[in-house]
Amino acid sequence: MMNRTVRVASPLRSYTGGAATVDAAGTTVSELLADLERRFPGMRFRMIDEQDRIRPHIRLYAGTREIHAITEAMENEPVLHLICALSGG
């Protein structure tokens, strides 16, 4: 499976040991998230709920393409962005 770069928003870096960028392998977003979960336990559930929906204040981008369902395939994008949508107070 192709290795991708995953850019990690700051609220999730407690799982990656502070790393802003990590590598993950997968051809779909779901596979990438599974690889992240294997290496950083607990991280996936903070972004994806138990029905496999992206949580309300989380956004995922494959390159510049917004991901709406984790079943979507990664195309040629080398980077998956994990974004915490700016909101709240």
């Binding site: 928003a9 609220p11 999730l12 336990p41 607990g42 559930f45 903070r46 972004m47 994806i48 709920d49 138990e50 029905q51 929906r53 949580r55 204040h57 989380i58 915490c84 949508a85 909101s87 709240g88």
Partner: protein, 370 residues
Amino acid sequence: MAELLWIGTRKGLFALRPDARRRTYRVSAPQFLGHTVHHVVQDPRDPKTLLMAAKTGHLGPTVFRSVDRGRSWKEASRPPAFRKAVDCEKARAVARVFWLTPGHRSEPGAWYAGTAPAGLFRSVDAGDSWEPVAGFNDHPMNPKWAAGLATPDGEFLHSILVDPRDARHLYIAISIGGVFESNDGGKDWTPINHGVEANFLPDDSAEFGHDPHRVEMHPVQPDRLYQQNHCGIYRLDRPARTWVRIGKAMPKTVGDIGFPIVLHPTDPDVAWVVPMDGTTVWPRTSVNGKPAIFQTRNGGRSWRRLARGLPPKDAWLTVLRQAMCRDARENPGLYFGTTAGEVWAGANGGEVWRRIAQHLPEIYSVTFAL
């Protein structure tokens, strides 16, 4: 071991530690700064263990565990989560873990969690992994009992009560949904709301759909329950099934609306409430800007106003349902936190009050620990 208060806030966790004579309290540095902390509870069976229900504004809900009295924390390996939806059923997802209750003393490591939307979960490994309580979450009546008639802050399952005489005898409460009882360890449930008013429903004699704000079981007389409800203060002495509105004995100018209710550690006739304005659009602030705690010493037949030391006027405090507790003394100290970030302590059963912390974030939970 020294006593302390755990303060769960909208922006993190704080500890308040008194000096030896409880004259001054020291506020700790925040832990989990930026996390929304709904509840922090010590395990009475293993006091080194604490569980904390938390999330952040952006990240999903979880539970953190400490086995060293709160010095370090580790996230649950499997936080509370509903089972995957099948076919056309509603796909529920936990938005918040709202409530934590240790299980029966005969079941070390057992805990219950209540969530928003209303769900009941159980752990048998001291909070590391959680399973849905299918008897409630998948009960055929669940879609009606937990119908999503949410309060402005959501629909919560809270006040999970375990009968100290029988691990299989449980009560839970839902805002909005009512109080429910199980006699078989959570396999089946029955609403128990008769006598409780629900003047916001089209049928105020409905079997369920009520809004309990907090329900408490007396620790040494577990057949006695007290309830602070959206529609008043109630008492229920089992095996009776009809709640009695003891809040009718409160002064009419004050009313009997609020969120918390706290019971005496040994005397089942003694309880404390924090009246808040429940008129018009339900401001939920101190009645007329004059904060007071009210105490009953006779099971609710009469109430005493306790306000010495509290601001005499122009103070519009809101105290949420988990934000009041007592310590374990025979004449207990009482403690409450406000949404404006103040913590107040009332010595000798609330006879004299003083502010012991201020400038904290919005307070959701105040719990006593040893």
